[in-house]
Symmetry: C2
Subunit: 102 residues, 2 copies
DNA sequence: TTGACATGCAGTAAACTTACAGCATATTAG
DNA sequence: CTAATATGCTGTAAGTTTACTGCATGTCAA
């Protein structure tokens, strides 16, 4: 796990909007950009432009947290939380007050 | 755990310099600003100004990851990774590919 | 009390982030 | 083919971040 990967993963997780997008995708996989905009309004009452959601998706994709596949003219976004991500997110464990896994 | 706390914690962890500071403090507790500047040069050969390190420490403190105590004219910085932080860092676990804790 | 030391505060410049609008491109329905 | 739809690309504006310099404040030693 490189420093850059850790940077990307933690940065991706450091925004509430992006964490909400992860939650939407965990509830229903393979959602399009429009569906995610709709999910934001429906679940949290927050209206976001397509461009805004698109940028957040790009950040999540750069961190490898989502995968995309094209179905005709729609791009389906799905969660892809791997063991590598879990390992990265566990980085802090080692510095726990009374040592790791106490 | 509020959204703001998660933001602060993940943001604090999303910078390699700050993660290095955490590592320095894990190797030796209660270090001053100058000692941390020296540790950066000694351990990684990276020279950082005091002000730069001070700002990073402020971000870490805002996330509750370090505690400080004054000893005369020096401010001692120590790691303070609580169960709350571990819980926050574990936020992603729930979205693991095959469900949590598989 | 004075000088050296440790830190804090203000200000700056470049880069990045986050939100948006507008236009372009590509695909599907009719 | 044409219109509607879904996304991508470019640009913009405000705010934040990251690095720094310089000056001010507070504390300890001589």
């Amino acid at each position: 796990m490189t420093d850059d990967q850790l940077n990307l993963i933690f940065k991706a997780l450091s925004d509430s909007t992006r964490r909400r997008i992860i939650e939407y995708l965990s509830k229903q996989s393979a959602q399009s950009l429009f569906e995610l905009c709709a999910a934001s309004v429906a679940s949290d009452g927050v209206a976001l432009s397509r461009q805004t959601v698109s940028q957040h998706l790009a950040v999540l994709e750069k961190a490898g947290l989502i995968e995309t596949t094209w179905k005709g003219r729609t791009k389906a976004h799905s969660l892809s939380v791997t063991d590598g991500h879990i390992e990265a997110a566990s980085w802090l464990m080692e510095f726990r007050k009374d040592g790791p896994k106490t």
